[in-house]
Subunit: 214 residues, 2 copies
DNA sequence: TAGATTGTTAATCGATTAACAATC
DNA sequence: TAGATTGTTAATCGATTAACAATC
């Protein structure tokens, strides 16, 4: 199970490979060379080969890569051959968007609970999943195995909830709150900071090249 | 206006500095050294100083950085001293979440229109902004200066809409669709690929260190 | 002034790209 | 077999970290 450490940059590229391979698969493309893929994806062929070879030799000299095989293998590397139970803490627009979304987009991530502090949402259902009150969260965690918790609530709420989640065995947090959660090393956190993304856009909008050169 | 090229990595860190400085400001901290900030942010002091010095000397030897001043300056670098008009194309949960969200979170980004193809949403308002039909988009763009367009609609829709936006002068696209938009060089695109973020989380969940070491 | 801490140069580290021998 | 293309080593490039002189 223990390969040498894979860099963050590589891990970040894997889902993109996966997406392109999925598209190729849909278009019934059977095989592809790193060169051809590099043109489609706008990266170097060298990078593709290096990235893949972190995990093994998936190609064949003189042939390239079998699309279906490579797609499946990257899926396995990403853990998409497994299923995960997920809860969403914070049933605002964003939480509800995720609830509607995650199930659709990718099998394997199954939303089994949605929580909120707002009692007006009590009993309201999103995609058949009733919104529960946050004070029932701990009990719920004890009665249900939860792999992933998405935090779609304000900063202070997220900081309060995270340790409770961790205490009750949640090992992965998808954090949409505007804060960096400080959690034990064996808990993985993936941050989605939308306002920081928007600021990057704003930066780039103000610093882009004048349209002179093509 | 033309400094030497700033790397993507640096730009990505700026909003995080901005957030920490904002928090410090709220806590009435007047000055901070790169060393102290580095501890709070879990980065090296060297990196902070290098990053900032891409844009100028904001500190003072023997003193450190004035929090309020640095906060303001980074804000300017990010373009947060300006205002932007924004539209949201795709009025599903995610689009509505953004509409509710962007205004709150950061002044300066003002949502002036929301569009969707679904005629059942016609006339429905989100935060006082009526949802318009997509076939009115082009006219709207001609009548209103739009700086930023958020694309919160499916892949195919996004690929159709993007060129229309660009043709009518939109220079910044916040893309939530699962596709890489191929647009002219003077248009900036910031991608938020949630499913890829979730896959990274899944990867890390499956490859994290066993909890042995602290 | 002495102490602190920046701005900046130099050293190191890591990631990307190039090159090519291995091999299908 | 000859041609294509990988897997992998070596070279380059860029980003991070360390060190320290400048200076408040």
């Amino acid at each position: 199970m223990e390969e040498r450490e894979i860099s963050k940059a590589v891990v970040k590229r894997l889902p993109r490979y996966y997406r392109y391979l999925g598209d190729l698969l849909e278009n019934k493309v059977e095989r592809i060379s790193s060169n051809e893929l590099s043109h489609q994806m706008n990266v170097t062929a060298s990078q593709i080969r290096q990235d893949l070879n972190n995990f093994g030799g998936f190609g064949q000299q003189g042939y390239g890569y079998n699309v279906k095989y490579l797609y499946t293998e990257i899926g396995k590397i990403l853990g998409l051959d497994k299923t995960y139970s997920m809860i969403i803490v914070g049933a605002g627009n964003l939480g509800q968007a995720l609830a509607n979304y995650v199930n659709f987009e990718k099998k394997g991530f199954s939303v089994i609970g949605i929580f909120d502090v707002n009692s007006r949402l009590s009993g309201v259902a999103v995609r058949g999943i009733p919104i529960r009150m946050t004070d029932q969260l701990e009990t719920f965690l004890q009665e249900n195995k939860v792999h992933i918790a998405a935090l779609t609530l304000p900063k202070t709420g997220a900081e309060e909830m995270a340790p409770i989640l961790v205490k009750n065995g949640v090992k992965a947090i998808w954090n949409f709150a505007h804060t960096d959660l400080n959690l034990p090393e064996d808990v993985v956190v993936e941050n989605v900071h939308l306002s920081e993304s928007l600021m990057q856009l704003s930066y780039n909008l103000n610093h882009r090249e004048p349209q002179g050169k093509e």
